[in-house]
Each structure stands twice: as structure tokens, then as C-alpha cells.
């Protein structure tokens, strides 16, 4: 079962499951099992942006004028975002590429992870702009307990899958003794690990990121740190796409047409998967305690952010096919919609990218009735 970078077997890629089938050989996109992944790739490519496009010159001044407790909120939020994108910039590649079996899905995973590296570059761009010594901020990410506590839950499903897959590739299924320890490698168990990983990635992108976006936009809602908010808007547009990628995967898995065993796994793990959502929501609320430990800011405090956590968790649980967990039914931050709206990510189209403007998208199908309104 060793991984091979160019599988020379002859097989029909459109008959393969998403994961744990044959290793992909030819990266071809003329025939696709799931066209949606190809569409996600196209969309993501059309979104391409660079952090340097966004002018941050007023943010430095804005940041210096913030009171200390708001500096703490802003920087902690940024550190958390940096952590999340550090994980997402590499983990989908390391964990999923060795087991993926569809060319379009393989390329989606690579495109997805690549866009996360742009996000990471943005944080450096932002941090370099507002402080003189970026190391102080970056170094704290691995030592700050409030951050590392959450990092554990974010990464443990990925890590378990990566370890399991490497044993599977090296040793195959069965019982093995490694360094005196007995390990059982089974495909069924790996599928369980994969399912939980995809759930936790969906939680990461669809809940954790959105909670951090709320904090970023709360500053801009008061007309401060607006350059930062512009970058976060671009990041939010990408994340909206990514979270749909994992939602599609979860639904395809649960449906069973892709891989019947995966559907059994999804049924078995339903409660555990649901608990991942609930635990993440609780962690995000704890995080809100840490953010606002020295005081709230106008428009956002611990309680409101906590309500938003519950609201967005409910939404995402329903979208991923689970029963909602919380009673909250109303969006406590109605202004989030207009900040998240990706149609107006930029004001001057000649200066930057407009998401709805796709290069090379020409409609060649022109019928005579298209001219019916014309008269000479």
C-alpha cells in the first residue's frame, strides 16, 4: 500500500471513491466524478489576491491610538488567525493528498491549501505594519496558553490521521509491533479518523474563523483598523468557499454512494462529530473570556460574541447535516452580513479584483432572440 507519486496502474478515476482508492496518476480534468470540486478550483483561482494590494497606512496610526485592552483584543485575535492559517496552509496537503483518489479533488486540496498560505502572508503584512518587532507576536503564538490550549483540539484529528496513514502506507493493514508497542492498522479505523478530521476542519473554517472575523470587523465597524478589515474580507470570501468544500465532502461521505463503508462510519460517529461542533463552540466562548479579560470594546463584548458563537455554530451544524445544539436563533451581530458580503470586497474596480469578474468567461451562445429588443 506504499504511496506512489505516479501510479502506473490502469483504472477509471471516475469510478474511484474520494479517498482510499487508487492513488491518482494523471492529473486530468476532462472527465470528473464530482464536478463541484472543479468549480471550487475555478472560483478560488478567480479570487486570487495579494495582501500588498490593500493599503494599511492608516492602520498603524489607528493601532497606536487604541487603548491597551483593545490592543490586547486586536493582537490576540490576529495571533489566533495566524495559528489557524498556519495549520490550514499545510495540513490538508500533508493529511489528505496521500489518500485522495480523484484528480479534481486532489487539485482542489492543493488550491485550497495554497490560498491559506496567502492568508498567512497577510498576517505578516498586517503585523509588520503595526508593530516594530513582529517576533514578539509570532513567538507568543506557541507559548501563549490560551492559544495552545485550542491548538491541541484543532490539530489532533489531523495528526492522528497523518500518523495512521503513514503506518498504513508503510506496513499495511494488520497488527504490528513498533518500538515495542502493538498497533492495529485497519482501513476502517483510518476512515473513522478521516471523517472526524473533515468534521474538525469544517468546524475550524466555518466556526472558529468566523468568530475571529467578527472581532476584526467589530474594529472596522467603529471606523478603525479598516485596512485590516479589508484583508479579512478577502480572507472571509476564501473561507466561505473552503467551508463548502468540506461540507460537500461530509455530505458525499454520509450519502454512501461514494463509499458505502464511509456512510457507515459517518453514522457510527454522528454523536462524536456533533460533539466536535459543541466543544469548539465552548472553546470559542472561553476564548471570548480571554479576549475581553481587561475590558470590552464598543459594539462587542463577551456575551455578544458568545451569542454569535452559538448562532454560527447552529447554522454550520445544520449545513453539515446535524441537529443544531443551541437555543440562539437570532444573529446578534447583524452588521456581519455587510462586512462578509464578498460582492463589495473592493470599492474601485480599476484598482483591484472584483470577485464577479471572471477572466475568460465569454458566453458564446448567442441566439437571434437575444437581439429581439434591438431595432434599427
Amino acid at each position: 500500500m506504499t504511496y506512489t507519486t505516479f501510479n502506473q496502474e490502469q483504472f477509471n478515476a471516475t469510478k474511484e471513491p474520494m479517498f482510499f482508492g487508487h492513488h491518482v496518476n494523471v492529473s486530468r480534468y476532462d472527465v470528473q466524478k464530482y464536478a463541484v470540486f472543479e468549480k471550487l478550483i475555478e472560483k478560488q483561482l478567480s479570487f486570487f489576491w495579494r495582501p500588498e494590494e490593500v493599503d494599511l497606512s492608516t492602520d498603524r496610526r489607528d493601532f497606536a491610538a487604541l487603548p491597551d485592552h483593545e490592543k490586547h483584543i486586536f493582537l490576540s485575535n490576529l495571533k489566533y488567525q495566524t495559528l489557524l492559517d498556519s495549520v490550514q496552509g499545510r495540513s490538508p496537503n500533508v493529511a489528505l493528498l496521500p489518500i485522495v483518489s480523484l484528480p479534481e479533488l486532489e487539485t482542489w486540496i492543493e488550491t485550497w491549501a495554497f490560498s491559506e498560505t496567502i492568508h498567512s502572508r497577510s498576517y505578516t503584512h498586517i503585523i509588520r505594519n503595526i508593530v516594530n518587532e513582529p517576533s514578539v507576536i509570532f513567538d507568543d503564538i506557541v507559548t501563549n496558553e490560551a492559544i495552545t490550549k485550542r491548538a491541541r483540539d484543532i490539530t489532533r484529528y489531523y495528526d492522528a490521521l497523518i500518523e495512521g496513514v503513514s503506518l498504513y502506507h508503510r506496513l499495511g493493514e494488520g497488527q504490528h509491533t513498533i518500538n515495542g508497542e502493538t498497533v492495529n492498522v485497519s482501513l476502517r479505523d483510518l476512515k473513522r479518523k478521516l471523517y472526524l478530521t473533515i468534521v474538525s476542519v469544517n468546524v475550524l473554517e466555518a466556526i472558529r474563523f468566523y468568530v475571529s472575523f467578527a472581532c476584526s470587523f467589530a474594529f472596522a465597524e467603529r471606523s478603525t483598523m479598516e485596512g485590516n478589515a479589508k484583508i479579512i474580507k478577502l480572507i472571509a470570501r476564501d473561507e466561505a468557499l473552503h467551508l463548502n468544500g468540506t461540507q460537500h465532502m461530509l455530505h458525499l461521505m454520509a450519502d454512501g454512494k461514494d463509499d458505502p463503508e464511509m456512510a457507515e462510519v459517518a453514522r457510527e460517529l454522528k454523536d462524536q462529530a456533533r460533539q466536535i461542533f459543541i466543544d469548539a463552540a465552548e472553546q470559542e466562548k472561553d476564548w471570548a473570556d480571554y479576549l475581553f479579560r481587561d475590558g470590552s470594546m464598543i459594539g462587542l463584548n463577551r456575551d455578544i460574541l458568545g451569542q454569535y458563537v452559538e448562532y454560527i455554530t447552529n447554522q454550520r451544524m445544520v449545513s453539515a447535516g446535524f441537529e443544531p445544539a443551541f437555543a440562539t436563533k437570532q444573529n446578534p451581530l447583524p452588521w456581519m452580513n455587510s462586512w462578509l458580503n464578498s460582492d463589495n470586497v473592493q470599492v474601485a474596480p480599476q484598482e483591484v479584483e472584483v470577485s464577479s469578474y471572471l477572466v475568460g468567461q465569454i458566453d458564446n451562445e448567442v441566439q437571434s432572440e437575444d437581439f429581439s429588443n434591438f431595432s434599427l
Binding site: 468549480k39 470570501r237 466561505a240 461540507q247 449545513s319 444573529n331 452580513n337 458580503n341 464578498s342 460582492d343
Partner: protein, 92 residues
């Protein structure tokens, strides 16, 4: 022909022909979540109880059975829809 949109536990109205369902709801000051407005984020879902819609662009977001993505569809018949968190009208 004009179609009627009925919001369950809310009210009925006749949308303008050129509007998507999302735009029509916003025109009526109904509170509804949205993000991308072009069919890839899935935020603006509603449950379609009765009726038919057509999509102006093919949505990328996953749409569960019985749901519609309001940002990129238009009514093809009279519609009965249900909003996830009830029909709330903006107070302003």
C-alpha cells in the same frame, strides 16, 4: 406572469420580476443572512415548501434536499418558503 412568494409564518408578496428571491426578501425588509450573493457560500438558504425556482447561475454551495439558495434563484411559480429562524422584518 407575476408569482407570489409566501413566507411561512410571515406574509405573502409579489416580487419584482428581475429580482432574485434574496433581493425580493430584502426589498420586503425581511432579515436573512447572506455572504457571497453568487451561490458559493450557502448562507442564504431557505426551505422550499411548495413551488419551483430556476437558478440564474449554477450554485457551487451544497444545497440539501428541499432547500433553495435564495441569492441565485428566481420563482418559476408561486412559492411557499420557510426561513430557518422565522420571518423577522427589520425595524427601521
Amino acid at each position: 406572469m407575476a408569482h407570489i412568494i409566501k413566507i411561512l409564518e410571515g406574509f405573502s408578496f409579489i416580487p419584482r420580476k428581475e429580482q432574485t428571491v434574496l433581493e425580493a426578501l430584502e426589498h420586503q425588509q425581511v432579515e436573512i443572512d447572506f455572504q457571497c450573493r453568487e451561490g458559493f457560500c450557502g448562507s442564504c438558504q431557505a426551505t422550499l415548501i411548495d413551488g419551483e425556482v430556476s437558478y440564474t447561475t449554477e450554485p457551487i454551495a451544497f444545497i440539501p434536499e428541499g432547500k433553495i439558495l435564495t441569492c441565485c434563484c428566481k420563482p418559476e411559480s408561486d412559492l411557499v418558503i420557510e426561513l430557518a429562524f422565522g420571518c423577522k422584518v427589520k425595524s427601521s
